[in-house]
């Protein structure tokens, strides 16, 4: 019997990994949270929606269509087992505990490819807990998957390639964009340019989008406060070159590039290092994505390279998997070369649109850091004074990182505030341990007849 390979995630990385494996005659299992395959950036609208691919994906329409067709073909030919709408909650005894549409299932594996993607990287802005503040990615998902704008007058703020992209996509669809506020200065952006020129066409496209936004785009902005009422957002105030501005709006999309989604990788045994250019903890892996015994990582969950990089990483991880199984694998040299160029570009992006560490370190005491439980920067600082600066200890004392999002949206900011309070570099306060279940499970779901509850393995 051949080994069982399970892929978690059906975005660009997961789909390309499945393609390489099925071409080699294997029948992998693909577990994915989405209603349909495609992941986030190439997210598909539900059945019955009619907009054409070029409306949904713009310049990336061909790639999106090719990827969707690739997965649909494998599915139609029954070359893989597919669990949509399914969340992996925990990893135990070489099996995944998966919450599927029909309840909890144990899915056994011999080798695991994790392609869980990324969420946006978020920095708190005072007022961001209010209704009408969304992640930038959420703005894009609403448009692609539902054909809606999450507000009538929208401000997008943060930094990174998504910022102008989402603005132009929303505007093209008929939404009103009041302002696009980039916290990175033009000088910093120039600093990343030499490496970004590894992909000159993307740079040109970015400049064109920015030109289209005209004076509504500002670089080097400080975001001061989101003003709110009980109904939600009313305005955002911001400072540019010493002058304070106020822009009325009913929705704000925030994001500072992306944060790798690494909880499952951690539970599966990956180890991590703090990456200063990406300003986050990233799993250690070789150039093919090998991250441990029978463990492979691919896509933005390994390193933030975007959708093109995810496709390449997915293929590389599957090749590594085949080689380790002693099977013949396709030649990966061209992909490895391509990846080096994509890596240069990704480094350039990280430099050009940095994480706003200094602003986060100076957040006012009354600003909410944890949106789940409304815990403020001041409460977190008190916890550091009382219990010290180790990340997990500060988390259990303050509860920042313990809410329902399990730290996805507050842990980077939390670590920054803890480090500032203790006068340390952010890397020395440590990484939060991964804990199962990685998604909230209904009561009873973690107990199945033949498997008792297990907490995740710590790395």
């Amino acid at each position: 019997m051949s080994e069982r390979v399970v892929i978690v995630g059906a975005g660009p990385a997961g789909i390309r990994a499945a393609e390489v494996l099925t071409n080699a005659g294997l029948r992998p299992t693909v577990v994915d949270e989405g209603m349909r395959s495609g992941g986030q950036i190439y997210r598909r609208a539900p059945e019955g929606f009619k907009r054409a691919a070029d409306k949904l994906y713009g310049s990336e329409a061909k790639k999106a269509q090719a990827l969707h067709a690739c997965f649909d073909r494998m599915l139609a030919e029954d070359r893989l087992a597919y669990f949509p709408l399914s969340s992996v909650l925990a990893i135990a005894d070489d099996g995944l505990q998966v919450l599927t549409a029909d309840g909890l299932q144990q899915i056994a594996f011999d080798r695991l490819i994790i392609a869980t993607g990324a969420t946006e990287r978020l920095a708190p802005v005072p007022g961001w807990e209010s209704a009408g503040v969304y992640g930038l990615g959420a703005m894009q998902i609403a448009l692609k998957a539902q054909g809606v704008a999450l507000g009538r007058r929208i401000v997008l703020a943060g930094s990174g390639p998504l910022l102008t992209l989402v603005a132009t996509q929303l505007e093209a669809a008929g939404a009103e964009i009041a302002a696009v506020l980039d916290t990175s200065s033009l000088a910093k952006q120039l600093h990343g340019l030499p490496q970004m020129l590894a992909r000159p066409r993307l740079v040109a496209r970015g400049m064109a989008m920015r030109a289209q936004l005209g004076r509504r785009y500002r670089a080097g902005v400080r975001l001061d406060r989101i003003e709110t009422s009980s109904e939600g957002v009313e305005a955002i105030s911001w400072t540019h070159r010493g002058t304070t501005h106020r822009t009325e709006c009913d929705a704000v999309g925030l994001g500072w590039h992306l944060r790798a989604e690494t909880q499952l990788a951690g539970l599966a045994g990956a180890t991590f290092t703090y990456d200063h250019s990406f300003a986050q903890w990233l799993p250690k892996a070789d150039a093919m994505g090998r991250a441990g015994e029978r463990l492979y990582l691919a896509g933005d969950g390994l390193r933030i390279r975007g959708a093109d990089g995810a496709e390449v990483a997915g293929r590389l991880a599957a090749v590594a998997c085949l080689e380790d199984m002693g099977l013949s694998a396709p030649d990966a040299r061209a992909d490895a070369r391509r990846m080096r160029r994509l890596d240069r570009f990704a480094e350039g992006i990280a430099r050009a649109f940095p994480w706003p560490a200094e602003v986060v370190r100076q957040l006012p005491d009354d600003a909410v850091v944890c949106r789940c439980e409304s815990i403020t920067a001041g409460a977190l600082r008190d916890a550091v004074d009382a219990g010290g600066s180790e990340a997990n200890r500060a988390k259990s004392l303050s509860r920042v990182g313990m809410g329902r999002c399990q730290g996805r949206y507050c842990q980077l900011a939390g670590a920054e505030i803890v480090a500032a309070q203790a006068n340390l570099d952010v890397a020395t306060v440590g990484r939060l341990r991964d804990q199962a279940p990685v998604r909230p499970a209904p009561i009873g779901a973690m107990r199945s007849p033949d498997h008792s509850t297990r907490s995740g393995r710590n790395n």
Binding site: E33, M35, Q40, A45, P46, E47, G48, F49, K50, R51, K55, L85, S87, T119, E120, E129, S130, A131, G132, V133, Y134, G135, G137, A138, I141, A142, L143, A145, Q146, G147, V148, A149, L150, G151, R152, A173, G174, A175, T228, S230, E231, G232, D250, A251, E261, V368, R371, C372, E373, S374, G403, R404, C405, R408, Y409, R439, P440, P442
Partner: protein, 100 residues
């Protein structure tokens, strides 16, 4: 369609209607809407925060933040951004009394 909703529909509006109830009020959405889209086309928020004065209206739309939980008059709690709306759903912005 109600004008007091948070969201603005920009495309894909020729889908069949779906009727549902929000806190006892009759509302209308379109087939293929998520619960989040359905509710926010009829209201500004999904629910109240348990920890602060503000309302909540979802945050990530990809099942990662858990900001979008809503309650049903009967049956399990649901994640509004990743649950499709269905005819006759009876949704609540606050937990029913017996909810622990």
């Amino acid at each position: 369609m109600s004008t007091e909703g948070r969201i603005r529909r920009l495309a894909e509006e020729d889908r069949p209607p779906v009727e549902f109830a929000l806190d006892g009020r009759d509302c209308r959405a379109l087939l293929g809407d998520t619960v989040l889209t359905a509710v926010l086309s009829n209201a500004k928020t999904l629910r109240h925060s348990e920890f602060g004065p503000e309302g909540r209206a979802g945050f990530c739309l990809m099942g990662a933040c858990q900001d979008c939980w809503m309650w049903q008059e009967s049956g399990p709690r649901i994640r509004a951004c990743s649950t499709p709306i269905a005819e006759g759903m009876r949704l609540m912005s606050m937990p029913p009394r017996e909810w622990p």
